[in-house]
Amino acid sequence: MAQRITWGLAWDIARRDLLDLWRSKMLLFFFILFPILLMSMFGYIYPPVPKSNPNTGTIATAFPNLPVSIVQMDNGQAANQVAAQFIQISRQQGLFAVSESPSFQAARNQLVAGSLKGIIVIPEGFSNDLDSRQPATVQITVDETNPTTASVVQSEISAIFNIIGSQISNQNISAMDPGNSVNPSFVIQPISVTQEPLIRGTSSSFQFLAPGFMALTVITGSLQGVATAISREKEQGTMDGLLVAPVPHQSIILGKVAAQTVRGLIQGFLILGLSMILFGVQIYGSPVIMVIVLLLGTASFVGVGIILTAVAPDQETAQMMTVLLQFPMMFISGILFPIDQLPVWMQYIGKALPLYFAADALRKVIILNASLSVIMPDVIILVIYTFLTMTIALPLFERAMRR
């Protein structure tokens, strides 16, 4: 049947679907709540990466005032001075709540019990080493049952001792070179590294996450929406009302897809807006190109939704199938973490999914202000996916509807 798409009918069908959402206040509430929840949850799972500035001696932290304890085994003047400095810097910058423990064993018990996150032991002979012009050592122990906190504590303690250490070096060099003919930094750290940022401002992991989440929400939202909407209407019997009228099937599909895409876009931009307000994500690219990428991403995947509707016997099964499809896609399409972190064979699967290309293109647009020509490879692949899936989906839909 060579029927042409009737745009007016598709528009009527789409508008009715959206009206349906608007009329159900409860559904609307959860529709808006979902992206808010998603975004804030991941906001706290992935805290913004703090940036320290070695030049000004500041250390930023995502975990302020963690409890640590100092075990002072040396009663020399140098040891006491270092401990006092450590406490002062920790307090000043809000890094640690520092207590003192009488012995390592006592501190260790507290750490095992969970009331301490780290132990700093200043060993016997510490002052002696420094006084006799030898490098001295402090020993740290962290709670290794929690790797994230452990690595934060470890790197922050090291950073504080670096600051204390370079102060001592400065004093030592000044003492050896009374005329100040040498810049102390030349001795301590002759080469320093500065970074020229790819993008203006500060970056956080949200800058990476937000575009991915946006693509994920819009694309899988429309995918699931289309599958659910069509099978629900089939089950309720209202699909008969559409099919018994002289309406081209393409108009029905287009109408359903359009309504779900609008819903997806609303949720996607909610996510973007929230991540801007709550987590300081900045947009450098054009919103128009963003919408184009999202529309293409949706188009590339919506055929899969139609195929699922055609194959699934009812709404419940269709829904289960879409969830099963979405869930792994979330992890292997480079949405939650960079795809390079995956084993190579999994990367191949991830890169075979259109979501990867949509998220990749969107990230480039949002973060790097990429133009359409820069993301053209992604765009072409998405267009190919659209044609492939639609070629399979349309005849299947046709058959399923008249079965």
Partner: protein
Amino acid sequence: MTLQRTELGSLTGNAIETHGLTKKFNNFTAVDNVDLSVHRGEIYGFLGPNGAGKSTTIRMLCTLLAPTSGSAVVDGYDIVKQGDDVRKRIGLVSEKMIMYPRLTALENLMFFGRLYRIDRDTLRKRSEDLLELVKLTPFKDKLVGGFSSGMRQRVNVIRAILHDPDILFLDEPTTALDPQSTRFVRDLVKELRQRGHTIVLTTHIMEEADELSDRVCIIDHGKVMAVNTPAGFKERYNTNSLLEVFLELTGRELRDSANGRISMRAPMGRS
């Protein structure tokens, strides 16, 4: 490109004409070689026990189901080759109500009417006239989700005739309605025949078939058992009740069958 009405349809002038119409679901033959002819302007009672093939036949005639073999001409057009022409000329009231609960009565009518490309002004006028006909004008701006089954069915029936179809299929239109609504819908069906619609009516209520039908077709196991007027049937079987005729023709044992189609596509033929 629109094809001309097929010769057969225009020659006989019948509203519906089928030849060897057959529908198989895997190994199960739901409709078996059925020949029907429905005259223009009549109410055609289409009766049969559960699983006899009534709804499957109707869904094929409405182009909602593709026949396995055989042919059917509806209002002069072939249901397979000229589906769109058929669809323009038929209306369907199926077992499941075709309406959206979160739309008002008028919005539902406007939505479904637009599918037939009726212009908005004409459609609004017609919807309001029909709402008046079924006495729902005071409720036209209320969501149908809050309607009683009787009210919903009245909206459902006028939804099917918005585009003034030549042929109207009514699949058990009074099932689950209270006596008042049943009376109202039956009178409405008569009124629609007066207005010139051809009506195919399926029902399990024999008094309804008796009261409304000009002719009755009894079908069982996918095959046509007999066609006659209600009076003709009663005379032939020497009884006052169409129910006795029906039981005589289709037997008295219960029809419990499970052919494995229950969980398949939603509202497929089940009677």
